[in-house]
């Protein structure tokens, strides 16, 4: 019996030696200079956003009549005021909270759905696999933003609906990734060995298959967060996303639909646009670095 257990580990189960692989991945990641810089910028942003009340003491909903509307940047309003005399700097920081939350929560949802659907399809195969994958293809082939727009028009715009809709509509990539990996992994010797010693499906999936997917899923989730932030920004820009007075980077840009603001009051629309650009760019570069670091093919040589 004891021999069997040891034997199980000897048959190249990659999940058995996660630790050394983890530190190797970290070393690889550190070599990707741009990715490290991006990670540092993102961490700074997260700290700014989490400690928003300290960074931006003025409440983002407060209206400062005494300062007037469309005031250019000054010492009491670092980035000036907007169309109803709210502080742009506070809205920028609190807006970041909303935008990043939408990205992270929506991807958590789609990660769960994608892993479950892809896992079932890949592990059990057969008719179930065909049916689930055709459904996935439908979701993959439709323009996401168009379907999201149609759904928002149907259910009505709100922060919660937005998160749910983005989450429920962006799992297809992840499902396909998980299915592909499961299809090849379930034929590996160590899985067959595990089944021989009497492990049930649940144990095989959770203990032997899923740990191998931590790398690819982390990478997919990173790119997914970037995509979700962009979708949120686009929807809020169109007025179908986060609703005022709640600030988000997208709905701050909505103000610049007026040519007069676009031309004469750049402090209102350049900062949120810049923040979206920097955040998404850093997430994408970090995702690229993570892929180089965690790619199982790269660990072979």
């Amino acid at each position: 019996m004891a021999d069997n257990l040891i034997g199980n580990q000897l048959i190249d189960d990659p999940s058995a030696n996660l630790k050394p692989q983890g530190s190797r991945a970290w070393r690889r990641f550190r070599r990707h200079k741009l990715a490290v810089i991006s990670a540092v910028i993102l961490t700074t942003l997260m700290i700014l956003v989490i400690f928003a009340p300290l960074v931006a003491p003025i409440h983002p909903h407060d209206i400062h009549i005494e300062s007037g509307i469309y005031r250019p940047p000054s010492t009491d309003h670092w980035l000036g005021t907007d169309s109803v005399a709210r502080d742009v700097w506070s809205r920028l920081i609190y807006g970041g909270r909303i935008s990043i939350t939408v990205g992270v929560v929506a991807i958590t949802i789609s990660l769960s759905i994608g892993t479950i659907i892809g896992g079932i399809a890949g592990y059990y195969g057969g008719l179930l696999d065909s049916v689930l994958m055709r459904i996935t293809d439908v979701f993959l082939s439709l323009p996401t933003i168009i379907i999201v727009l149609a759904s928002v028009a149907l259910i009505g715009p709100s922060l919660r609906n937005l998160i749910l809709i983005i989450g429920f509509l962006s799992w297809a990539n992840i499902a396909r990734l998980v299915r592909g990996q499961f299809l090849s992994l379930r034929e590996k010797e160590y899985v067959i060995a595990a089944r021989c010693i009497g492990a049930n499906d649940r144990r095989i999936i959770i203990r032997h298959l899923l740990p191998n997917l931590v790398g690819p899923l982390t990478v997919a989730a990173t790119f997914g967060v970037a995509e979700a932030i962009l979708t949120e920004a686009a929807l809020s820009y169109l007025g179908l996303g986060v609703q005022v007075p709640t600030p988000s980077w997208g709905n701050m840009l909505e103000a610049a639909k007026q040519v007069s603001i676009l031309k004469f009051r750049p402090w209102i629309w350049i900062p949120p646009g810049f923040m979206i650009a920097i955040t998404v760019l850093c997430i994408n570069i970090m995702g690229d670095g993570l892929r180089d670091a965690l790619d199982p093919r790269a660990t072979i040589d």
Partner: protein
Amino acid sequence: MMQSSSGGSLGNISKQQVEKLREMYGFNKPAHERYFLWMKDLSKGDFGFRFRDKKPVSKLLVERIPMTLELMGVSLILACVIGISLGVVSALKQNTMIDYILTVIAFSGVSVPVFFIAMVCIFIFSLNLDWFPTSGAWTPAVPLSIKDHIHHLILPSLVMAVVIMSDIMRYARASMLDVIREDYITTARAKGLRSLQVILGHAFRNALLPLITIIALKIPWIFGGSSILETVFQWPGIGSLFIEAAVARDYYIVMALLMVYGGAVVFASLIADIAYAVADPRIKYK
């Protein structure tokens, strides 16, 4: 699905009027029944009408689809030519300064929201330098002229092209890097062919194959991006029409356009299959 949502396009009016209107538009019927009614009308070529001015949707589609195809076509061609060549250059000069700069440009292009790029371009080129008009496809109240139309087309198609190009560039680079390491490239070089001949004749053609599939798969994504861009530039295409309709909950338009998008996606994959066979003589469909 759009049919099951109620209200929205009906504003604040008395209950009796609402009932009358609902009967007129058929909103009082259950969703599945309305869906079949819609399908029945569709089989007769009737797409319904726009709620605001009762304009038939089929007429709107005929007006708007060519505008979107024009904008997408111009930007897609620009993006493919520039994107693929820059991607190839980037791959050939791997790990040099040029490669790094191009990589950062490519990443920025897919990371910065398309409407923000558009806003910055309008701010610089239209509002401050006054080179291009800010929006629309024609100057209003001026007789139609091709020159005026092209003048309106330049800025939106360039912005769209930059976004698509960034994406294509990354794939072109990766694909070219894969091919360059193949044995037959070494063989071609060993035979004494000039390096330009090796790159164009042997490497480029093979690197192009996966790109065709990727570009075709990107069509839905391009449609999505163009709808937002059309809204920013008030370009009278189906993208801006869709967004207007979604905001106003104009179901007939939304449903008709969802069908158009679906058809476009299928058509794009068909084109990709054909292009694949043209580019690779090994592939034959029987």
